[in-house]
Symmetry: C2
Subunit: 111 residues, 2 copies
């Protein structure tokens, strides 16, 4: 279960859909680095889990809208706090990484 919720792409999709419903191609453009395959797979899983609603408009060219279900909306609050956390602490983490890498390099040098 955690696997699904803690999935990178799922988090991003839910974060984006909370603002407004989006089309497939809009999602793909806004989520940097997602392949078409993974976006499709992710959306299917979220739909299956009842977190996202998929609406197909029978027009030419085809148009598919995605939006959060009420259940999906309840998840959004905790998602957002996670996203906010990463934004707030990413510089701290960057510092920690460089320090760690330095310590490791020094250790090798000393040996």
């Amino acid at each position: 279960m955690l696997d699904r919720v803690a999935d990178k792409w799922s988090l991003l999709v839910i974060a984006l859909l909370e603002r407004r419903h989006l089309r497939f191609s809009e999602l793909r453009r806004q989520i940097d680095g997602v392949s078409q395959r993974m976006l499709t797979v992710t959306l299917r899983q979220l739909e299956r889990d009842g977190l996202v609603k998929r609406t197909v408009h029978p027009v030419v060219p085809p148009r598919v809208d995605y939006e959060l279900t009420p259940l999906g909306a309840t998840l959004h609050d905790t998602i957002r706090s996670l996203v906010i956390w990463t934004e707030e602490h990413q510089t701290e983490i960057a510092v920690a990484r460089t320090e760690y890498d330095r310590r490791m390099a020094d250790q090798v040098e000393a040996s």
Copy 2:
């Protein structure tokens, strides 16, 4: 960045370390299904990111304790809300899944 934080094993490690500091083997026992290799890798990443502190006790047999850093502790709150969410809604999700699977099966049958 989200990759690291949204990682399955990282979440579980942080959730466990919040209660109390743990030894390597204790973590491994309590996290079901984690391989020794992935636990090692996960702990190294968390240490590098400054979320977990690693303490080696120079005794025989060796003993290594892991605990959350202050930075890691700030992450725990949002982690916990995520874990709580999954626990609270997992039956809802299970229902959604079976319904979805039924709809898909019916669709195939009708074709």
